[in-house]
C-alpha cells in the first residue's frame, strides 16, 4: 500500500485495480507495484505497467486491437449463441450467468474470432475473454474456435490464438470436455495444411484450454509471469500437501522446463510474431522491426 493510502482512513480507501481487467478512469493503479499510472500512458504501453512491467489482463477486443495493424479487425460472421443444454443451475441459473456476462462484456461468449493484418500479413486471430465467465470453454467457444481455424484454412493465412481461460466450462458438462477434442482435431487439419499456428498464452491459461488448443501451437509464446498449467495451484497444494516452489506454473517456470518456446513482452508481441510468421511462410517482411527499446 502506498504511503498516501496508509494515511487515509480505511473508510475512504478504494480497491482500485484489484484483480479485474483494467479499470476505467484517468488514473489507474498497478496491482503489482501499486504505482499510480496515467491511463493514456498505460494505454500506450498496451496495459503493461511502465514501472514494473506487470502485464495486466486484457479483454479480448483490447487484445486484438493492440495486436493488429492500426487496431483494426473484422469479426468473423455467424458467432454461435451459447446454449444451456443441461438446464444447469447452482446458486444461480447458468442462463442468468450467461446473460449477465453478455451484458457486461457485450460479447456473445468468451472467444473473439477475427481477421486482420499483422505488419501487412493477413492473419486469423482468436482471443479468449477472461472477463466472460473466466474465459471458460463451452460448446459455443469451441465452435467459434473451429470457425476461426476454418477461416485460416480457407484463406491460407496463419492462425494466432491468445488464450486466457480457467478451463472447460462446468455448466455445460461433457459438452465442454468434448470441445477439447473438437478444437484439437481442427488444429490437426491446420497442421496438415502446413499453416502456422502461433499459440500465445496469457494470464491465466489453465485446465481444459491448456490441455488442448493452447499447447498445440507450432510456436508457443507466453506473456511474462502468466499462470499456465493443467491443475490449479490450490488443488495441487491440497493434493501433495507441500508448499509449491517459487514461481511454480509461471511462464518462466514453463520455459525452463521446456514447455514453451519463448516469453515475449506484450509491447514486442506484434513485431516478434510477424517476424516468426514471415520466416515460417518464407516471406520477407517489408518493414523494419523496431529495436528492443521498450524493455527496461
Amino acid at each position: 500500500m502506498s504511503w498516501f493510502k496508509k494515511l487515509l482512513p480505511s473508510k475512504i480507501r478504494t480497491q482500485a485495480g484489484a484483480k479485474k481487467g483494467v479499470p476505467e478512469g484517468v488514473w489507474t493503479q498497478c496491482p503489482q507495484c501499486q504505482a499510480v499510472l496515467y491511463r493514456a500512458e498505460l494505454e500506450r504501453h498496451y496495459c503493461v505497467c511502465p514501472k514494473c512491467t506487470h502485464h495486466m489482463r486484457l479483454s479480448a477486443s483490447a487484445r486484438v486491437r493492440y495486436f493488429l495493424d492500426d487496431g483494426r479487425y473484422e469479426e468473423l460472421p455467424n458467432p454461435p449463441e451459447p446454449q444451456d443444454r443441461l438446464k444447469f443451475k447452482d446458486s444461480k441459473k447458468y442462463k442468468e450467468r450467461l446473460s449477465a456476462a453478455q451484458k457486461q462484456t457485450a460479447e456473445k461468449d468468451a472467444l473473439l474470432a477475427c481477421k486482420g493484418h499483422l505488419h501487412g500479413i493477413p492473419v486469423c486471430v482468436s482471443a479468449f475473454n477472461f472477463e466472460f465467465l473466466g474465459g471458460s470453454m463451452g460448446a459455443a467457444v469451441g465452435e467459434r474456435f473451429v470457425q476461426c481455424v476454418n477461416a485460416s484454412l480457407e484463406t491460407g493465412s496463419p492462425f494466432i490464438c491468445f488464450s486466457a481461460s480457467g478451463g472447460a466450462r462446468m455448466q455445460e458438462g461433457l459438452f465442454s470436455l468434448m470441445q477439447m477434442a473438437k478444437t484439437s482435431a481442427s488444429l490437426t487439419r491446420l497442421a496438415k495444411a502446413r499453416i502456422p499456428f502461433i499459440s500465445i498464452l496469457t494470464d491465466p491459461t489453465m485446465g481444459g484450454v491448456s490441455a488442448s488448443l493452447a499447447m498445440l501451437g507450432d510456436v508457443i509464446i507466453a506473456e511474462p509471469n502468466a499462470l499456465i498449467g493443467f491443475t490449479g495451484p490450490r488443488v495441487i497444494a491440497q493434493t501433495v500437501r507441500e508448499i509449491l516452489p517459487e514461481g511454480f506454473q509461471r511462464s518462466e517456470f514453463l520455459r525452463d522446463h521446456g514447455a514453451i518456446d519463448m516469453i515475449i513482452d506484450r509491447r514486442e508481441m506484434r513485431d516478434k510474431v510477424a517476424s516468426l510468421l514471415a520466416k515460417l511462410t518464407r516471406k520477407e517482411l517489408d518493414y523494419c522491426i523496431m529495436p528492443e527499446s521498450n524493455n527496461e
Binding site: P80, R85, L86, F88, K89, D90, S91, G138, A139, A140, G142, E143, V146, A168, R169, M170, Q171, E172, G173, L174, F175, S176, L177, M178, Q179, M180, A181, K182, S184, A185, S186, L187, T188, R189, A191, K192, G207, G208, S210, A211, S212, L213, A214, M215, L216, G229, F230, T231, V235, I236, T239, V240, E242, L244, F248, Q249, L254, H257, G258, A259
Partner: protein, 315 residues
C-alpha cells in the same frame, strides 16, 4: 461372499446376510430351509432390480468407483487372448496408471490401452489410483502410433478420477501430454473404440478418449470434472457432490440422449462386479460388432467420419 455393499444397497445387504445365516443353520440342523432360502434369494434379486432401476447420478458415481468393480486388467483377461503388455514412454518412465499392449480379440490382433486402478492398498499406490502422469499419456500415444503403423485397431478403456494433479506432472507438462493425444488421435489411421468402464473424469479421461465409437458401461460416469470438484467450486462445498452429479448430467443414459456417446452396455443386476464374466461377454460382443462396422469403411472414410463427429459435438 463379501460384496462391499454401498449405503444405498443396505436393504440388499441385510437380506443377503439373512440368507447366509439361514444357510449356515441349515447345514448343521435337520430342518429343511431350502424353500425359505430360495424365497429370500428371489426377494433379494427383485429388491436389487428395483433399487438399481432408479439409481441417482451420485449413486452411479459410487458404483463407478466401487472397490470391487472390474478394472482394465480384469477385462483384458476376460476378453482377450495372448496379451503382451508393452511398457514405458521411452523418455521418462513406465506409468503404471496406464496399461497397454497387443492382444487378440476373437483371434484378431488389436492394441489395448487403458487406465488401471489398484485393488489392494499397495496396488493402489503402485497404480497411483488410476491417475496418469504425462508419461502415461505419452506411453499411450507411443502404443497408438505403433498400432497405426501395423494397422491394429485400438481399444481404449477409460477408468480414471483424473490426470494426476502434482508438481512433477506439471513440470513434465501434463497439459501438453493430453493435448498431443487429442491432436494425434483425431487423425490416427486405424479404427479406435473408447469404452468408459468406470470413472471417466475430465481431461485425464479424454486423453485416451478420442475415437470412432464411444461406449459406456451402464453404471460408469463421464464428466468434465468430478462431482466433488464441481461442488467445491460452484457450491463452495464438496458435500454438494450429489447435487453437482445431478446437474452435470454425467450418466450414460443422459449422455446418450445428448448424442455425446454412441452406446450403453448393460451391466448385470447389481453391477459389473456381481458377475464380471457376464459383463465381459457383453462388452466383448459389443466391441466385436462395433469393430466389424468400423472396419467396413475405408480408412479415409473413417477419418472423415471421425472428424465430422468431433465437429458436430455441441454444434
Amino acid at each position: 461372499m463379501n460384496l462391499n455393499f454401498l449405503d444405498f444397497e443396505q436393504p440388499i445387504a441385510e437380506l443377503e446376510a439373512k440368507i447366509e445365516e439361514l444357510q449356515r443353520v441349515g447345514k448343521d440342523g435337520k430342518i429343511n430351509i431350502n424353500e425359505e432360502v430360495m424365497r429370500l434369494k428371489g426377494k433379494s434379486q427383485s429388491l436389487t432390480k428395483s433399487i438399481f432401476s432408479s439409481l441417482t447420478p451420485w449413486q452411479v458415481t459410487q458404483m463407478a468407483r466401487h472397490p470391487l468393480r472390474p478394472y482394465t486388467n480384469d477385462y483384458i483377461h476376460l476378453l482377450f487372448t495372448e496379451f503382451d503388455e508393452l511398457h514405458g514412454d521411452r523418455h521418462y518412465k513406465d506409468d503404471l496408471a496406464i496399461v497397454g499392449g497387443i492382444a487378440r480379440l476373437d483371434g484378431k490382433p488389436v492394441m489395448i490401452i487403458g487406465q488401471q486402478k489398484g485393488r489392494t492398498t499397495k496396488e493402489k499406490v503402485r497404480r497411483n489410483f488410476g491417475m496418469p502422469h504425462p508419461e502415461g499419456y505419452r506411453k499411450a500415444l507411443r502404443l497408438a502410433k505403433l498400432a497405426e503403423r501395423f494397422k491394429l485397431p485400438i481399444l481404449t478403456f477409460i477408468d480414471t478420477p483424473g490426470a494426476y494433479p502434482g508438481i512433477g506432472a506439471e513440470e513434465r507438462n501434463q497439459s501438453e501430454a493430453i493435448a498431443r493425444n487429442l491432436f494425434e488421435m483425431a487423425d490416427l489411421r486405424v479404427p479406435i473404440i473408447c469404452t468408459v468402464i468406470g470413472e471417466g473424469c475430465s481431461g485425464g479421461a479424454l486423453g485416451i478418449g478420442v475415437g470412432d465409437a464411444v461406449l459406456m458401461l451402464q453404471y460408469s460416469y463421464y464428466s468434465v470434472i468430478s462431482p466433488e470438484g464441481c461442488a467445491s467450486i460452484l457450491w463452495k462445498s464438496a458435500d454438494k457432490a450429489s447435487v453437482a452429479a445431478e446437474a452435470m448430467c454425467i450418466t450414460a443414459d443422459k449422455l446418450k440422449q445428448f448424442g455425446l456417446i454412441d452406446n450403453i452396455i448393460e451391466e448385470p443386476v447389481g453391477g459389473a462386479h456381481r458377475d464380471p464374466k457376464v459383463m465381459g461377454e457383453r462388452l466383448k460382443a459389443v466391441l466385436v460388432k462395433e469393430l466389424v462396422n468400423l472396419e467396413a469403411m475405408s480408412i479415409d472414410q473413417l477419418l472423415e467420419r471421425r472428424y465430422e463427429r468431433l465437429m458436430a459435438l455441441g454444434r
